[in-house]
């Protein structure tokens, strides 16, 4: 291999010219990656850059069309995860691959060749797992059922799975999603311990701040290509942002996204533009609103208010009632009790159409499932929700000429990249689908805008676009509620942040008082220390 002539020890892992296509889409276009020994190697890039696809190829979940993988100087063929495991590769996926009904120990030993006669010795393995937990600072009860564990603990189980199998290379895909800042610190500590014991870690992330905090070396990807590999000590966030985004003009427009949280890596956020919306009138007043989840169990019970022009954030670990809260406030989930009024008009109990006409706009979390009609055109998706109104009507019929004009002007105003206004929505990328949903929400000139994880899975320019539009909506007097699992996003955009835990609001902070650790403390359900 080419690496043999390079100075220094042979790299542990080398991927060379990896190409992977999904139908006509080229996901990876000849990507190289070299991971040295005892290092945390960051794989940085915006969503859709191909980071996860590259690692799925390494782990045998995807078969590459072309390319060579070399481990310890030996070329290896990885056909499925079994091959990857036997070569010492472990991977922690973003959506944990665990059997919910199994214990921690059962999840970890699954797939190994433990002898069964007369029965499996799970107790002995539990002890071994407890020992690994202590050694790497990944403490978790080996006998607990994983369904009962928090996200942070479930992630430890995933890491232990790889360590238990004697992994030499551990891949973590966006491991900080849904962790509190405290849990992130503890994770980074464990990664250090893992590297100190002679293993290497590949850390997939789209956050520059995280790579600067934990990585030794960084490979940056963009559009399915590797665009650079740099040592952390020799680089700056600005250089990384440039690599991630491509052209300099764009970098300046999206700085906010790529440097999210950088201004305050620890401690308090910026105080310059302290809480200002304090005297605008309250447009949205929610009191004692109770919503049940799909199993009929109470899941959200909140009182809150949002002033005109204010962006209020809801912070919390996923699964603490955010979905139910968002849907109840948007009028698409029936409320069991309480009231919700917009500009003094109580909407609770009315049909969804009344909420829409009343000026409520909703950008749902699952944009593919809840946000669009996938096989309908952009025109039809943009009319959706306004079909009853006078705007697109002529007599008893819909006026498609006007609808089409509206779609074409929206496509321009929201920079939707599409062949034409008649293109079915499902053929567009996630970022463009989100632009359609935003365009639809804004065309109603909403009084109350609810955004749920609006930038999840979006590429960098689209994320910046969402931020700009959200601010513009607030500036025009809309009351905005931003429900997000991304603390950087919340501290960046919001005038006020409410923390939700188990469906209840457990704390409130105003701009100028943000402290991510304090927020993390509340998100974990711990009492306010005051």
């Amino acid at each position: 291999m080419t690496e043999n002539s390079s100075p220094g020890p042979r790299p542990l892992l080398h991927m060379d010219g990896i190409r992977k296509t999904f139908g006509p889409v080229v996901a990876l276009d000849g990507v190289d990656l070299t991971v040295g020994r005892n290092e945390v190697h960051g794989l940085l890039g915006g969503n859709g850059a191909g980071k996860t696809t590259l690692m799925n190829v390494l782990y045998g979940l995807y078969r590459a069309d072309e390319g060579i993988v070399t481990l310890d100087g030996q070329e290896v063929v990885i056909r499925d995860p079994r091959d990857a495991i036997s070569h010492g590769i472990g991977m922690v996926h973003q959506n944990f691959l665990q059997v919910d009904t199994y214990s921690v120990t059962e999840n970890i030993v699954l797939g190994t060749e433990l002898p069964s006669w007369p029965s499996m010795d799970l107790k002995g393995q539990a002890e071994r797992i407890a020992e690994l937990s202590t050694r790497f600072g990944l403490s978790v009860d080996p006998l607990a059922t994983v369904a009962d564990l928090s996200v942070g603990l479930r992630q430890r189980v995933e890491i232990l799975k790889a360590l238990y199998r004697g992994a030499k290379v551990l891949v973590l895909d966006e491991p900080t999603t849904n962790l509190t800042p405290q849990e992130v610190d503890s994770l980074f500590g464990s990664l250090r311990a893992i590297v100190d014991e002679g293993m290497s870690v590949v850390f997939i992330t789209h956050k520059i701040r995280e790579t600067m905090a934990v990585c030794d070396t960084l490979t940056v990807m963009r559009d399915g290509r590797r665009v650079g590999t740099v040592a952390r000590r020799g680089t700056t966030p600005t250089e990384l942002a440039g690599l991630m985004v491509g052209d300099d003009a764009m970098v300046r427009r999206v700085t906010e996204v790529v440097t999210a949280g950088m201004a305050a890596p620890v401690g308090r956020g910026p105080t310059v533009d302290a809480y200002a919306a304090g005297d605008a009138p309250e447009r949205v007043v929610v009191s004692g609103l109770l919503a049940h989840n799909d199993h009929g169990v109470p899941a959200a019970d909140v009182s809150l208010s949002v002033r005109g022009g204010e962006i209020v954030g809801i912070a919390g670990v996923a699964g603490n009632g955010q979905v139910e809260l968002a849907e109840a406030l948007a009028g698409v989930r029936p409320t069991a009790a309480g009231s919700m009024s917009l500009d003094g008009r109580d909407l609770a109990g009315s049909p969804t159409a009344t909420w829409l006409d009343g000026g409520v706009a909703y950008v749902p979390e699952d944009r593919h499932r809840d946000g669009i009609l996938p096989s309908e055109s952009i025109v039809e998706n943009l009319v959706l929700g306004a079909q009853r109104g006078r705007r697109f009507r002529s007599g008893p019929f819909l006026d498609w000429r006007r609808a089409r004009q509206h779609a074409e002007s929206s496509i321009r105003a929201f920079s939707i990249k599409a062949p034409s206004a008649s293109t079915p929505a499902a053929q567009l990328s996630g970022g463009n689908i989100q632009r359609i949903i935003l365009a639809r929400a804004f065309s109603h000139e909403p009084g109350f805008l609810i955004l749920h994880n609006p930038t999840r899975g979006l590429d960098i320019p689209s994320t910046q676009f969402v931020y700009d539009r959200t601010r513009a909506a607030a500036a025009s007097g809309t009351a905005v509620l931003l429900i997000s699992e991304d603390l950087d996003e919340l501290t960046n955009l919001c005038d006020r942040i409410l923390v939700v835990y188990s469906g209840r609001i457990v704390g409130e902070r105003r701009r100028g008082e943000y402290d991510q650790y304090e927020l993390g403390h509340l998100m974990a359900g711990l009492e306010e220390s005051a």
């Binding site: 979940l61 995860p81 691959l97 699954l110 190994t112 433990l114 069964s116």
Partner: protein, 310 residues
């Protein structure tokens, strides 16, 4: 032998087809394959078991061939739903019709239409030395045919396999979260195909038991809905072998009770009495389904490169 003992003895005898068919449903289901062809496979097992026993003059060979036939159907269900990811329910129904049709066809080809159908000997009772002398328990549990002992031992064996062995850990993971199993190197397709084959074999054995225990011959309609009830029993038993064994006593009990009441000459139309097991099942299921735990991926196919999460 008193009334209670003979009643219980009949119940244990009647448990066997329920145990075999429901454990077969369970073992395939725990790997994620939801077989709905029980009724048809039991008919096929009854027909093939009878015809082969008649031709070769031995019940054992009849059982073996019936089991192999059912296994082939189960294997096919596992194969097409993993290899081609065809809908499990649709294929299962198709297999039900195919097996039911084949059962009648084979009987007509070999025996034809006769007024006096030929008979095979029913299975002998094997008394377990010592144990069969225990009062009540002895006659009920230990003066039975070999298939009764087989069904009980099988249930114990399945419990051990599922919960005490590494194979069981892998098998259950395939039905709970095949993606997780796959990511740890468990062969999802192979596990599903073999569990489905084993399940089909047990269903056919359940059918073959009927002519060898009750009638000595094959008749249309002799399965009488036991296959459909086996699906209910699998849910009722929470897809766990120990509860399925216990639940089969309830289903068999209702069956024997209905017979007893008919014979006892109560002044009720016998159709109402015959309805009893099904009505009881319906009522029990309404409550059982509330707490029943079912494998998360029951009836759902798995595609590794599918980019949508589940």
């Amino acid at each position: 032998m008193n009334e209670v003992t003979s009643f219980l003895q009949l119940v244990v005898t009647a448990m066997v087809p329920f145990i075999l068919a429901a454990q077969g449903t369970m073992i395939a289901g725990r790997a994620g394959v939801f077989n709905v062809a029980q009724e048809g496979l039991m008919m096929l097992g009854a027909s093939v078991g009878f015809l082969v026993s008649l031709t070769f003059g031995g019940n054992l060979v009849g059982l073996v061939v019936a089991g192999l036939g059912g296994g082939l159907f189960g294997w096919f269900l596992g194969w097409v739903t993993t290899r081609f990811r065809l809908d499990q329910f649709v294929i299962g129904l198709a297999l039900f019709f195919a097996a039911a049709g084949l059962a009648s066809l084979l009987y007509k080809v070999v025996i034809g239409v006769t007024l006096q159908p030929p008979l095979i000997p029913t299975l002998d009772d094997l008394s377990v030395p010592g144990l069969s002398a225990i009062p009540l328990v002895g006659p009920v549990l230990f003066q039975q045919s070999a298939m009764v002992y087989f069904a009980f031992l099988l249930s114990g064996g399945l419990y051990w396999l599922l919960y005490k062995t590494n194979h069981g850990l892998k098998l259950r993971s395939v039905g709970e979260n095949p993606k997780a199993a796959d990511s740890l190197g468990v062969n999802v397709a192979r596990t599903r195909i073999w569990c489905s084959a084993a399940g089909g074999a047990l269903m056919a054995l359940a059918g073959a038991y009927l002519p060898m225990t009750y009638t000595g011959t094959y008749t249309e309609g002799m399965v009488a809905g036991r296959g459909w009830l086996a699906i209910a029993l699998a849910f009722f038993g929470g897809w766990r072998p120990q509860y399925i064994l216990a639940g089969s006593a309830f289903f068999a009990g209702m069956e024997v009770l209905a017979l007893r009441v008919q014979v006892g000459g109560l002044d009720v139309p016998h159709q109402f009495i015959s309805m009893l097991p099904y009505v009881a099942t319906l009522l029990v299921m309404m409550f059982a389904l509330r707490w029943a735990r079912i494998p998360a991926f029951l009836g759902r196919n798995y595609d590794r490169e599918s980019r949508t999460s589940h």
